[in-house]
């Protein structure tokens, strides 16, 4: 018996994009260059949990998501999708297999305002995924699915929304229709890439609430991609922090944000904007920028910006180490630098 209900397992996933070089470089037989977008990451996502991939732009979080959905092909590594007793290796799956699995893995779009067709009413909008994937059987069954998807996203009574066009819906209702169209196929894995970054703050929680509610109800696994730690804090069960194509720290949301052990996580957490002008905290402002993914630094990729870097970090790539059974960190010196459990939130100075 499996102890944890994994839905998705990634092992040592790599996605490298070749950099096109000129004719001259080809003639001179220069070494081919690659963008190391994702460079050896492993994680698993469990049933009914929200797994957050957090990192700055260019860290590889979106590439990872696209790779899981097989919108791009991995360079190496494995991606397993587990439906009950059936495990499919996505990276080597055949086209018909992928086609069968597509409806099980759904993407929630970044901008629900733009993702609805203005010429389709709600019924058309939700029938399309069923028709394309040849799911849902008879007309009556299809209608049943659509109605329940609509009521699950809080469009009640669902019958009254069926023949409305996007322009007849408010912003919030449009977003709900967008989510319903991802949910109508009963996916076991949902991937949301920055689902609320384009929505006004006052409406974000409402939309996130619907997603979480659906997740709880369907017990789907939820991968949330965001650059926003406070969002990951509010909704995430576990967090993986990415830097330059690697996962540098991973663990339960509380541990990663309140007791971060990687110097990069500590710095990011210390600068998360907080709506409180009286909060005294030490901000760790990193200098410089994320490394060029074509030319990643040797050793630990974070060493050129790391406040605790030593000689060893320049040459030796740190292995993933366990802080606790659930909390991992990739740093040579975390034990030395951040040995104790923080009782205070990271970065808050106690004498303030």
């Amino acid at each position: 018996m499996k102890l944890l209900d994994d839905v998705l397992e990634l092992k040592d996933l790599r996605v490298w994009f070749p950099v096109r070089s000129g004719i001259l470089a080809g003639l001179l037989r220069k070494e081919a260059k690659f963008v190391h977008a994702v460079d050896g990451i492993s994680f698993d996502v469990r049933r009914g949990e929200v797994f957050c991939l957090v990192g700055e732009s260019g860290c590889g979080k979106t590439t990872t998501a696209r790779c899981i959905l097989r919108l791009i092909d991995p360079t190496s590594g494995t991606i397993k999708l587990i439906e009950g007793d059936r495990t499919t290796e996505l990276s080597s799956a055949t086209k018909p297999e992928i086609k069968r699995l597509r409806p099980k893995m759904q993407l929630i779009f970044q901008d629900p305002y733009e993702s609805l067709d203005p010429k389709m009413h709600v019924l058309d909008q939700l029938s399309e995924p069923l028709r394309v994937n040849k799911i849902g059987g008879s007309r009556k069954e299809k209608m049943g699915r659509i109605l329940s998807a609509l009521s699950n996203v809080g469009l009640i009574p669902p019958e009254t929304f069926l023949y409305r066009y996007p322009h007849e819906l408010s912003g919030g209702q449009r977003q709900r229709v967008g989510i319903a169209s991802s949910m109508v196929l009963d996916p076991i894995l949902l991937i949301a890439d920055e689902p609320v970054s384009m929505i006004d703050v006052s409406m974000r929680s409402e939309i996130l609430g619907i997603m979480l509610d659906i997740k709880t109800r369907s017990q789907a696994a939820f991968v949330l991609i965001t650059h926003d730690f406070s969002l990951a804090w509010a909704v995430g069960d576990r967090i993986a922090v990415m830097y330059s194509g690697r996962i540098v720290e991973m663990g339960p949301a509380f541990d990663v944000i309140r007791e971060p052990r990687h110097p990069y996580t500590r710095a990011l957490v210390s600068v998360v904007p907080v709506p409180d002008p009286t909060l005294q905290r030490k901000r760790i402002v990193l200098r410089g920028e994320v490394p060029d993914p074509v030319d990643v630094p040797a050793g630990c990729r974070f060493h050129p910006r790391c406040p605790i870097a030593k000689e060893r970090c320049k040459t030796e790539d740190p292995e993933i180490q366990n802080v606790t059974a659930e909390h991992q960190v990739a740093c040579h010196f975390w034990q030395e630098a951040f040995p104790e459990k923080n009782t205070e939130p990271a970065g808050v100075s106690t004498n303030a």
């Binding site: 700055e56 732009s57 408010s170 409180d276």
Partner: protein
Amino acid sequence: MLDVNNLKTFYRADGGYVKAVDDVDLHLDEGEALGLAGESGCGKTTAALSIVRLLPSNASIMGGEVLYKGQDIVKMSDRKLRRIRWKEISIVFQGAMNALNPVKRIVDQIAEPILLHEEVSKEDALQRARKLVEFVGIDKARAKDYPHEFSGGMRQRVMIAMALACSPRLVILDEPTTALDVMTKTQIQELVKDLQKRLTLSTILITHDLSVIAETCDKVAIMYGGKLVEYADVVSTFEKPLHPYTSGLIRAFPNIYGSRELPLSIPGSPPDLLHPPDGCRFAPRCSMADKECSEPPPAKIVNGNHYVACWKQ
């Protein structure tokens, strides 16, 4: 230094006027940092653009005054206004870092406003531009680079250097950190704070992100549906917001030092500014609203200098 009184800026549209800025008052002292916040479409950018009269052609200032050092910008001649723009008040436009000319070196682009607004030789202007490049924290060796060789954060530094080119006293920053990553955002915030101190600059920061204002501004003005709803110093606004919209907005932000839960949202959506509600514009979304709120709310000053426009205060 800057006094905005009863400012009204409307956009012409089919069927009437969009009342984007409707009777807004702002006041800014020398060296002060004011944050102007609100959701998209609340009129914050229009209000700021009205201050320098850089409005799109379908917008016009329908009333009120913008006094800069005692002179009314609304009534000023174009010629006189040109002497104030950039030399006294400059703007970092929203998304402008993506509007840098891709075929010109950044040092030349920074020198451009200097040549336009001041009578100096090209060599002097370039000299000053090179100094500005260093001043905003870019390695001077990169002054001759082109915009595509810069990251987003660096390009935003270039925009700030351009805004500072003619040594203005007031800089308006419209969403300067919105598209940037959190670490880059912090670097830019630190730069702006540092410049404020070193040059005793006054700044108006326009953003939808209240936490940025909490961290960088002295005062905050909250706008909703074209109206100013609350205006006070940052500490008292965040500690004890008086307008239900402000408190709703603050509560809508997740806080990593708070409990792990979904923040509260404000139900409903912002008003149509072509036909705004007669009374309080926030009333349809307000949990405290009652009959009284169908009349326009009175503007009140509470506790000395805390402005709020709400019947329930």
